[in-house]
Structure formats: structure tokens, C-alpha cells
Symmetry: C2
Subunit: 396 residues, 2 copies
Amino acid sequence: MTGRLLVRNVRPMGGPAVDLLVEGGRIRERRAGIAIDASVESVDGGGRLVLPGLVDGHMHLDKTHWGLPWRPHQAGPRIIDRIENERRLRAELGLSPAVQSARLARQAIANGTTHIRTHVDVDTEVGLAGLEGLVATRQALADAVTMQIVAFPQSGVMIRPGTVELLEEAVKQGADLVGGLDPATIDGDPRGQLDGIFAIAERHRAGVDIHLHDPGELGAFQVELIAERTTALGLQGKVAISHAFCLGMVDGDRLAGLVERLVDSRIAIMTHAPGDRAFPPIRPLRAAGVTLFSGSDGVRDAWTPFGNADMLERAMLLCYRSAFRRDEDIQLALDMVTVGGASVMGARGYGLDVDCQADFLVVDGDAPAEAVVNRSPRALVVKGGRVVAREGVAVV
Amino acid sequence: MTGRLLVRNVRPMGGPAVDLLVEGGRIRERRAGIAIDASVESVDGGGRLVLPGLVDGHMHLDKTHWGLPWRPHQAGPRIIDRIENERRLRAELGLSPAVQSARLARQAIANGTTHIRTHVDVDTEVGLAGLEGLVATRQALADAVTMQIVAFPQSGVMIRPGTVELLEEAVKQGADLVGGLDPATIDGDPRGQLDGIFAIAERHRAGVDIHLHDPGELGAFQVELIAERTTALGLQGKVAISHAFCLGMVDGDRLAGLVERLVDSRIAIMTHAPGDRAFPPIRPLRAAGVTLFSGSDGVRDAWTPFGNADMLERAMLLCYRSAFRRDEDIQLALDMVTVGGASVMGARGYGLDVDCQADFLVVDGDAPAEAVVNRSPRALVVKGGRVVAREGVAVV
């Protein structure tokens, strides 16, 4: 075991074919015709694309039913229906957050995901049990995927006294970020929820990632409240808003004003491109300089029976919902599931250059856009210089 | 060669496991524990689902770039941009409709499609060359897929004198249906185009399948014109409107009136669930008794770089755009790509009962809904009693 890996004949981002020599977890050489002694593990990339590791910036690993028998979806259509259905199912199924999160994380790894941000339910019923499970999975898979955990108040904050304290305890016990959930419609107290979670972020210099489904002006109002607090507390670059449907609902002038606030406070926006409602418009936000990222959101859980933790499929859906057809537009979607997410997660040394972390995947396609169109099984996934998946199957 | 095939241990539509004995192209027995002599070809279904063959009710086989190197998309966003870009590319690439259509049809077969309705360009530039190619492919693959051809005036009818005559000639030379295209915006003459194509249908007792992208009231107006002609000429059950975006744009009362016309005239509606615009609402149309079907539409052509001729993926997209999560809703989408399309194509003996045509696929999943969620490679595809694909690869 030399700790070295030579990936021969791959085309970074669709460019000319090169070999990649990996050592000590980093890309050490990137050029054609690297000669190396036979003891070094060597893989033939067959002229395929190499892309930097995919970033799934919004998962709910703790609550997936992945690996369990098919379970017909039962919840009503409203968010509150689904929250209540989930609470009921959680008790009934007795799911282990550690086991379930590891199952789905391995599936993500098989699909080329090298970085995950996952929201874990923290509430006055489950307490920190979900967090403990996720911390265990993060540790168990530390060599195979980089994982950030958001302490997520799925059942609300102000309406469930004791939750703020639990969120803070979660951050002390290993959560990287503090989450939030529709401060207006879930808590009826946007100022209360936001002040509560931002205070935790300030005390612990933790990041913030808030689920904001609230529509139109109600959502826009809260975007402003979030931006105010981000700037006031010096948390620029550490705050994200997930979903932010409202950005797809307000008109041009209003949107422009909100975008200016987002840029000023360096708040990132996560969208998974929902199929049936408005979502943040990718092209104008990106053009204005907003950092955009994406994620699987729920995968086979009480919220949806769909999902497969494939971020190339997610990029396809971003294109599908945005009428992206040109390579440069498809690249915008691909950026969201690669460099955009990596930036949000503060991934150092992310990329395919010499000295970058050796986190990449090898996949069929002439051009990066074709990888999004094809979504072939990932031929090879490398994380920190180790092969973690081959031919669509995790080997960790 | 006995012409018999035993598919053991499969679960029709997710029901109890049975064996299917196929002979003479039909399902002859369907029960557990069929005993048969060892000379009969036998396949173990491994307890997987069996579904009736998938129906791709709207393809453009003649114009796909399937099998060619990646070509970045070049057209502007409007329909007319894409028509003009396509005409330019067609000349530049010199594609063979026979070769290209066979390539993509084989991919469809690999994905479990047993029935295809394809629209083939007929205009005053290409004449009937596309039709000839499609007729050749239909003949070459006759044992592997049932194919209907629609003579499609991609460049308009009334604005290109000579097109009506070409469409009629196409029907004489093997097209099963006559097509149309946005009679108002493409021709500026809805009455002219519709009278022209319906006259052909009447003379030859051919079906009609009209592309109608025109929005809102402009589209709704033309739905009424189409319904009038369908009823007047006794073509009930032989007419389809493809896309019909307008049905997703008009309000409740107006929609109800249009739906009544569709039901009375037995006009079927095809939607592929476009990602970025309104489309016919599935649940209310189905509840009212409108026959709904779906299709891939363009696959890797001058219109879109996306697509893969997988009708289980199409069913997933129908669900994604419709917020379908419950099994019974997912089944609505699955119906569109199976029984709905089969009904529109007049497929006799379609289904999984004894005496039905042996057109089916074997695929992973506990329930039919899970097949749509998983979209695993098709373990086995049988057409007319012959194995035509295994493990996601066509063997014809």
C-alpha cells in the first residue's frame, strides 16, 4: 500500500485527456503520460470525464426509509400534514437515525457525492437522538464523505418551549450549523425564531441554514429579516436560505431588491427545483452574484416516496425546470451541485487542479453537460485519494 | 425452438407471484407453479414486478441525434427558433431518418417500451424521405415494437403550399395518422389547417394527432375547433391533441367546458409534463374521463439535448410536476405510459391477463409505484412473446 493512486486517461471537465496522480489525499500531478512503478494502484478512466466531487447541500439523512420495503405515501399535501404524519411514522417505525443515515449516505457516495450537508431533526420529542445518530455516521464515513450537520427544528422553535436550548446543545455536541423553519407560519413569530437561532450562531460562530417555504411577500419579508441579522452579527458567508420559494414569486423590482440584500450579506440560496411550485430563478440570481447550491432534500421518507441521492439527476431537474438546454446553462446547474455547494460548505482545496483535494468522480460523457444528460452509473468515485465507489456501487 | 417462453416468479402489477407461460405471442397461462418440460426457454423473474409494455405515445424518432457525439444545443428559446435551427442542422448533419430512428427505437425497447407513436417530419423540403426511413424502421423492428407513424407538418401546412398534398401522400404510403401544428400561430389559419388535415383523415379513415402549443384562450379556441371537426366527421376516439398547454392555463369553468368537449368527442390528450410551463392537469382530466397518455417527445435532437426514451422516467416526471406522492396518484402517471397510451394506439389484447398479447417488462419494485420511483434497468422485456431486452440492453 503506497497511498498512491493513478487515474489514467480522464478528461477534467471535458478537456484533453490526462492522468491524475493522487497521493496523500491530494492531486499531485495532472498531465498526460505519467509514468509510475507498477506497485501503484492504477485505474483506467477510458477517456471518460472527471468532475469534482458532487455536493449534496440539503439532505435529511436521519429520516429516510432507504433500504426498507416500499411504504405507500400517506400524508396530506400541506407542510403541516407532512410534519404530523412524520411524527406519527417515526414512532411507529422506530427508525434508527444512525442506521438510516449511513444507508442513504452510502447511496450518495455511490452516486459521486463527496460532500453532504444534512439537516437533522431536533425537537422536544426526539431531543438529540437524531444528532447522535448523525454524528456516529459522520464519524463512521469520515474517510468517504465530508458531512456537515444542521440542527433542524422540524417541529418549530417558539411553539415548542425548550427547542432553542436543544438547538444550542446540538451545536455544542457536534452540529455545524443551526437551522430554522418558516419563522412566520410555523412559529407565528419570525422575530422570535430568528433572534433565537442567530443568537446561537453568534455565540458559537456556527453557520445558519434556514428552511423558508413561506410564499411571496411573507417569505420576502423574512429574507430581509435574515439578511439584517446576518449583517448585524458579522455572519456574512455563513448563512444560507433553503428553498426560498418566495424568490420565484415576487416581481422583478422586488426581486432585485432582495437579491441586493442577499449579495450584500453573502447569503447563499439552496433550491432543489421543486416540481410543482415556483422556486428561485437560477440565471438572474447567479448573474447578480448570489451563491447557489442544491440538494436532494427528502429521499424516500415521510415527505416523499421519490428521490435517489443522485446529484447529476438533481442537476437535470434544475435544467428541466429552468428550460436550460445550452451547455453554458447546464453548466450553471452543474456548478450548483459542485463548486456552489463546495463554497457554501467551505470545502478547502476543492477542484481538479494540482494540490486540490482528491475528491472526484469519473463518468461517461463528452462534455460536462452530457454527464448531466446521461447520468450514467459513476465509473469511479474518489474521496481523499481513496476509491469509494466503482460502477455505481459504494465500496466503503 | 418451441416458440414458448416461461417467465417464472413474477408479480403482475405487484400482486402475488405467478409464472407466465407465453406461446404464440400471447400469455397462455398465469398461475403459480407451472410445470413445463425442460426444452422450453425459461427465465427466473426473481419475484420482480411485471408490468404491461410501456407505451411511448409521442416521439420524434426521425430527428434524434442518438448515438452521435455530443452536440451543444444551439437554438434560441422560441418554437420558431428551434424549427429554423433544426432545418439548418438537418441539412448540415445529413442525418438518416432510418438509421437514427432505429437507434432510438432500440433504446426505447431496452427501456421496456413495446408501443411507439412517432411523428415524422413531412414538408416541402424533405418531402417523404423521413416517412420512408420510418417505414423501413417500423418494418425492421416489427417483431420488437409496435409503431404508429404520424405525418407531421413541422414547418406548417398552409404557409407551405404543397404540404397538404404531401401529408395525404404520406398517409397513402404508410403513415397511420395525419398530424398538425399550432394552426393559429404557425399557419395564421386555424380553420384552413384543420380543414385540410381533417379532410385527409376522413378520406382515409386515418387518425389525427395535433401538436398544440398555443397558450390560453388561443389554444382553447382551437381545442373547440378540433372537437367540432372530430364529431362532425365521426372520428371520435381517433383524435389526439399533443401538449395542449392551454388546458393548464384556463380557469376552472373554462376548463370544465373544454373537458366536456373532449369527453364528448373522445379526444385523447398527450402531455410529457414540460418542466417550465403549464400543462394539462392530470387528476381532473382523468376524473372527467379524458384519455391521457404521454411520450418522450424530442430525445437528444435539435429541440433538446435531454431525453433517454425511458417511460418510467417520464412517469416520474409526470409525478414530479403534479406533486403526486401517493401510490394511487403515481398509478395515474403509470397508467398514462401503459393503458392510456395503449388505448390511444388501439392496441388489441393489451394487458397481463391470460390471452393478452405477451408484451411486458420485468422490473424491480415491491409495488408498481416503486417501479416509477426506482427506474431500475429493465431486467427483461418481452414483445409478442419474444425476449427483446435483458438487463437494460436491447437484444434485437
